[in-house]
Amino acid sequence: MDPIRKFDLKAIIACILIYAVVQGLIAVEVIGPFWELNIVLICINIILAVSLNLINGYTGQFSIGHAGFMAVGAYTGAVITVKLGLPFALGLVVATISAGLLGFLIGLPTLRLDGDYLAIATLGLGEIIRICILNIDYVGGASGLMGIPRFTNFTVAFWLMIAIIFFIKNFKNSAPGRCCLAIRENEIAADTMGINTTKYKVMAFTLGASFAGTAGCLFSHYFFLAHPATFTFMKSFDILTMVVLGGLGSMTGSICGATLLTFISAYLSDFPEWRMVIYSVTMIVLMLRRPQGLFGSEELSRKMFRLGGRQNG
């Protein structure tokens, strides 16, 4: 068998095993409601982190407005299920498509910018999305949209996460994905080689935005409400921190970063007044000690350990 297919098969088996173990532990109540909540939150955060990594890490377009797309997904999903009474699956699909559509519309003009300017523009757009939602009375305005049924559970969140991870992994290895990587390495060179840079930048941005929408829909259907104060730029920074912590351009890095940060903030929830102080110090120290993130742009693999071992030895 083709080695990539063989790897995928192994990965899928590993996923099934992880799923079975965690689901089993939840079923026999070794994992209580608090940690179950955090596990679902980890799945959602991983979706957010890998989708942002697609934009920031693979394509090198520095976006920090991810919470805006998450908000769009959260609200459109909730409108479908609560206001229109349609099934959750449809809500997920519509949330994904609408966030993607918005990402496309926003990406088309803004992706002409680069570096810090793009960052600050996406930050501003994220806030504009949130303020617009805040002013729509149909979805509850400033008090948020309440009474959303809890349709998200571990199974849904986990398998959607796996599907999105596989999609992004395969996207990276596809021809358009390689164009994105080329743009990250050197945009002018990529342009000279005949790559339509705008097309691929917008493509990555749209995909990233739509997955953020999926995550938002999962989020609002787990926490019973969609509130505009959830989706401030603080949320965007959170997601960005997960990605950078793991290492920009590393899929496994994003996954580890999201898991680690969610765990840290869950552990620290017992000391609410110290929580953000410790969180911020962790962030600063990690960046000072390891500015390229935990994994750099490498993937977590056996080869990495071998290399690490040789360097240490």
């Binding site: 757009l125 110290w274 962030m283 960046m287």
Partner: protein, 296 residues
């Protein structure tokens, strides 16, 4: 028609006094960006720190307005130097995004350490002035707005003098123009960067005290939004350009006042960001910026 015009002028007065505070914060942003190309997200929190130092000086030490603002500026300048020394200097050669994350971390650290010490509840800033209201025909201007405007003008004049006429200012301009060449000319870059942080932080602290005087209320998270908006102001005027930050701040303040006066105050923040997007799309170098072509 007359009332419309009256309200327009009234909003202009409000906007200019608010805008001069944005300008003070934006100056720090623009100087720091100009010199180390860092969006210092912690700058808004330095402004918050300044407001609290001013609060402390007036309530606990019983100082009057003028010594209080000096106290706040000196305190914030020290904080700025320490932050740069501890968090940013070790990362001089790190990837840009890592420094940005560090800045976000510093911002969170300042906000939540402050909450730890002074509780998240807003404090009432003591009213230092008798609130005199000046009526100029249909227009109203109170003494706070006047003080804000005058202080801002004085501070900006002093800054312009420092940057343009003194040796330290010359060194700052040199480093911001070409850091490597400046180093070859014997300029101690680290010291120049420290000076820049001190100056920028002092201005932000002055802005913080003025806001405390204006709104009578301060809280540990007060710096987040004004911090971002001041950055918008800096980009609007052309980042790295000092007069640009002043103009950008005033324009932003006026637009916000007009939007909250004529449309709705909930769209105030959106207006600021909408300006940002428009300016970035049509003139990314800002109002006073020159176009730079990218070379291969």
């Amino acid at each position: 028609m007359d009332t419309f015009f009256g309200q327009l002028c009234q909003q202009l007065i409000n906007g200019i006094s608010l805008g001069s505070i944005y300008a003070l914060i934006a100056l720090g942003y623009t100087m720091i960006y100009g010199i180390i190309k860092l969006i210092n997200f912690a700058h808004g929190d330095i402004y918050m720190l300044g407001a609290y130092l001013g609060f402390f000086a007036t309530t606990a030490l019983g100082l009057s307005f003028f010594p209080a603002i000096i106290f706040a500026m000196v305190g914030a300048a020290l904080a700025g130097i320490i932050i740069e020394r501890v968090a940013y200097r070790p990362m001089r050669n790190a990837p840009r995004i890592a420094i940005l994350i560090t800045a976000i971390g510093v911002s969170f650290f300042l906000e939540y350490t402050m909450i730890l010490f002074v509780s998240p509840q807003p404090r009432t800033f003591p009213s230092i002035f008798a609130a005199t209201v000046y009526n100029m025909g249909p227009l109203v201007m109170n003494s706070q707005q006047l003080v804000i405007l005058i202080s801002a003008i004085i501070l900006m004049t002093v800054l312009t003098y420092i940057v343009n006429k003194t040796k330290a200012g010359k060194a700052m301009r040199a480093v911001s123009f070409d850091a490597d060449a400046a180093r070859l000319m014997g300029i101690d870059i680290d010291r120049v960067i420290s000076t820049t942080f001190a100056l920028g932080s002092a201005l932000a602290a002055a802005g913080g005290v003025l806001v405390g005087v204006y709104y009578n209320s301060i809280d540990p998270l007060m710096g987040m939004m004004p911090g971002l908006k001041a950055f918008v102001a800096a980009v609007l005027g052309g980042i790295g350009i000092i007069p640009g930050a002043m103009i950008g701040g005033i324009i932003l303040g006026v637009v916000e006042a007009l939007v909250s006066g004529f449309i709705s105050s909930t769209f105030r923040d959106a207006a600021a960001f909408a300006i940002l997007i428009l300016i970035l799309l049509y003139k990314p170098t800002g109002l006073l910026g020159k176009n730079v072509r990218e070379k291969v």
